[in-house]
């Protein structure tokens, strides 16, 4: 469903991403790994429309999306999280999920001002969807707290829930396990697998936690200094000499 072909991104003299290709089929979890500064986040930024790539193509369900505005790409069903959590801190947890459903809501001002039945119906539905996902990630009890007051692990989960209420087809997670304790990482592992199994979402995952990556990925892409180093199933990657030398070996 997603095909990235020879993606390049240059910042002035720095070629942060150099001819990276990857593809994601439906119902698949694909990981991107590589040392810090390898260009993983930059690949995400190009895919999600934050940067206009300087070269290459990004096809989502057969349509070229590179260079499209970020909010349009998100509306097509490609939604991301951030390496550093970005919540609406002074809004409540449930409001974070309502904002994410903005385009599903009835945004007609008149019907909102008059509280027409259609408007109420949609407002209720979006609240229902929000509470469903809060329950799913175990935050229902905290629904009315300010998002900024949540613990770090809870914020991470809220960010994923916030993506899920937009009903994405492809979810891009940028280091979702960073800063989580082992128990939380295990829960995250189960959650991501369930997103794929139960909600039919494909996942692109950037992650440093090797046990998590090896455990849940269908395929893995390794990049190093902006260049693709290897790609294949977890087993292939585990035994790839280049990868061991460049990346796994140093850990």
């Amino acid at each position: 469903m997603l095909e990235v072909q020879n993606l390049s991104m240059r910042f002035g003299g720095l070629l942060a991403v150099d001819q990276v290709s990857l593809d994601v089929q439906e119902h698949e979890i694909v990981s991107i790994i590589g040392p810090n500064g390898a260009g993983k986040t930059t690949v995400f930024n190009c895919m999600s429309g934050f940067y206009k790539p300087t070269g290459g193509k990004i096809l989502f369900e057969g349509n070229e999306v590179q260079g499209k505005p970020d909010f349009r790409i998100s509306r097509l069903g490609m939604v991301r999280t951030f390496q550093h959590v970005r919540l609406f801190n002074r809004m409540t947890v449930v409001e974070n999920l309502l904002v994410a459903q903005h385009r599903h809501l009835n945004t007609n001002l008149i019907s909102g001002l008059l509280k027409t039945p259609g408007y109420r119906e949609r407002e209720r539905k979006s609240l229902d969807r929000a509470s469903y996902w809060l329950d799913r990630v175990g935050l229902l009890d905290l629904a009315n707290r300010d998002a900024g007051n949540l613990a770090y692990g809870q914020q991470r989960r809220l960010e994923i829930a916030r993506c899920m209420v937009t009903e994405p087809k492809l979810l891009m997670l940028d280091e979702p396990a960073a800063g989580l304790n082992p128990a939380e990482t295990r829960d995250l592992n189960l959650l991501i697998v369930s997103l794929k199994e139960d909600y039919n979402v494909s996942v692109v995952l950037i992650e440093h936690d090797m046990s998590l990556v090896m455990d849940i990925s269908d395929r893995i892409n390794v990049i190093n200094q902006g260049r693709p180093l290897a790609s294949g199933t977890p087993d292939e990657i585990r035994h790839n000499d280049d990868v061991i030398k460049a990346y796994l070996g140093e850990a």
């Binding site: 998100s74 939604v79 970005r86 809004m91 409001e95 385009r103 809501l105 001002l109 629904a143």
Partner: protein
């Protein structure tokens, strides 16, 4: 540290001298056909020197003074209070607002004409400030040309009545919608600008509208303005001594009471009151609607909001348009109240005053905006002797606010949607 302060203070004092002495110290005096330059009186020179000394001392002890000011909130009884629970706060707020509205309904029947007239002006400013509050406080867009939309509303009514005899009640929605259209059309290209740039472009737009009104003499009468703008009617009843429009009746004859010019003033006041209440209610509702949440989300974290499919342009544009709509509303009422408008009424100072109300009130908070509108409009009237220093006091008040209470008199706490617990 001390040496640094001393140097800085000396520098500031010298700057004060350099600026103040030529401006205040020399006078151009006409003597016959010539103009001669005269030195200042000793008194002025002493004042300028004194001012420099004050600046010097202030800058020297600046840290201590600021620290003292910083402690000032301790004097404010409300400062360290625990935030109230939302449901209680809402109840309290609606009670206060209801009481204010009831008071405002009864009050004009017991006071002088002048006060009611002034109160109408306050209500117009409240409408303007509530509207600008959407743009600045809720959507975070610094709009310095807000008065342009006010002018569009006022001139729409004035022109429609002059050329087509359109009544107040028809002109009200037309003026507001036209102002909103202006907001939409202007906003579309400029909203991609950020911060300072947006402020400058909107400032320019405000001036362009005023200059256009001034120069399109054949249509708008230029600096002479437009007069004879009719008063509103109540179900076809006019408030003048004699009926002007065919088919209308007169208020005092219908009810068999003696004619009084106060009826008209009170009626206008009541219209302004109703419209101000409608404005407040509509904006309150908007804040709880998806669009209100989108404004806040974009202000909180634009990147995250866009990553969730919110379009910055359309969300910001909605705020800009809605703000312009209410300015048009207020403009129509203003034209009707004055009966005469000219470009003079729509200078940049008006934008600045409305913005000052929003900032003083605490961006985004409605009760705060209402109190600030009352303060900013009425205080200069009470202290007429000081009217020359009005701008000075204004500026000083703003600086003090920024130091002492940057969140405004009453900072905004938005009404949150609560998720009810399902058992």
């Amino acid at each position: 540290m001390a040496a640094h302060n001393l140097k800085h203070a000396l520098f500031c004092a010298i700057i004060t001298l350099i600026i103040a002495y030529p401006i205040l110290g020399f006078n151009l005096v006409a003597s016959g056909t010539n103009i001669i330059l005269e030195g200042a009186t000793t008194q002025t020179v002493i004042s300028v020197l004194l001012a420099a000394v004050v600046v010097f001392l202030f800058q020297l002890f600046r840290d201590n003074i600021m620290a003292l000011l910083g402690k000032a909130p301790a004097l404010n009884p409300l400062a360290n209070r625990q935030p109230m629970e939302q449901s209680r706060r809402l109840k309290l707020e609606s009670t206060i607002l209801t009481l204010i509205i009831i008071g405002a309904l009864i009050w004009p029947f017991f006071v002088s004409r002048g006060s009611v007239d002034l109160a109408t002006l306050v209500l117009i400013y409240i409408m303007l400030a509530l509207g600008l509050n959407v743009v600045v406080g809720l959507a975070g867009l610094l709009d310095l040309g807000y008065v342009a939309f006010y002018a569009v509303g006022a001139y729409t009514f004035a022109l429609l009545s002059q050329y087509y005899g359109v009544s107040f009640w028809f002109a009200l929605p037309i003026g507001a919608l036209l102002a909103a259209t202006f907001g939409l059309v202007l906003g579309f290209p400029v909203l991609r600008l950020r911060g300072d740039y947006l402020a400058i472009v909107t400032l320019g737009f405000g001036e362009i509208i005023r200059i256009l009104l001034n120069n399109m003499t054949s249509l708008t009468g230029g600096p002479n303005g437009i007069g004879g703008i009719p008063d509103p009617t109540l179900f076809g009843m006019e408030f003048g001594r004699r009926v002007k429009e065919e088919g209308n009746t007169s208020f005092h004859e219908t009810f068999g009471i003696a004619y009084s010019s106060e009826h008209k003033i009170i009626f206008l006041y009541l219209i302004a009151l109703v419209l101000a209440v409608i404005t407040a209610l509509v904006i309150r509702r908007l804040m709880r609607m998806p669009v209100g949440r989108a404004w806040e989300a974009l202000r909180e974290d634009e990147i995250a909001a866009r990553s969730l499919g919110l379009s910055r342009t359309s969300v910001k544009l909605s705020a800009f348009t809605i703000g312009a709509f209410f300015a048009g509303f207020a403009g129509t009422v203003f034209a009707s109240k004055q009966g005469f408008i000219s470009p003079e009424s729509f200078v940049f100072l008006e934008s600045a005053i409305v913005l000052a109300i929003v900032v003083l009130g605490g961006m985004g908070s409605q009760l705060g905006v209402i109190l600030a509108a009352i303060a900013v409009t009425i205080l200069p009237e009470l202290a007429r002797e000081f009217s020359e220093y009005r701008m000075l006091i204004f500026g000083a008040a703003m600086v003090l606010m920024m130091v002492w209470r940057p969140q405004g008199l009453m900072p905004m706490r938005r009404i949150h949607i609560e998720l009810e617990k399902q058992e």
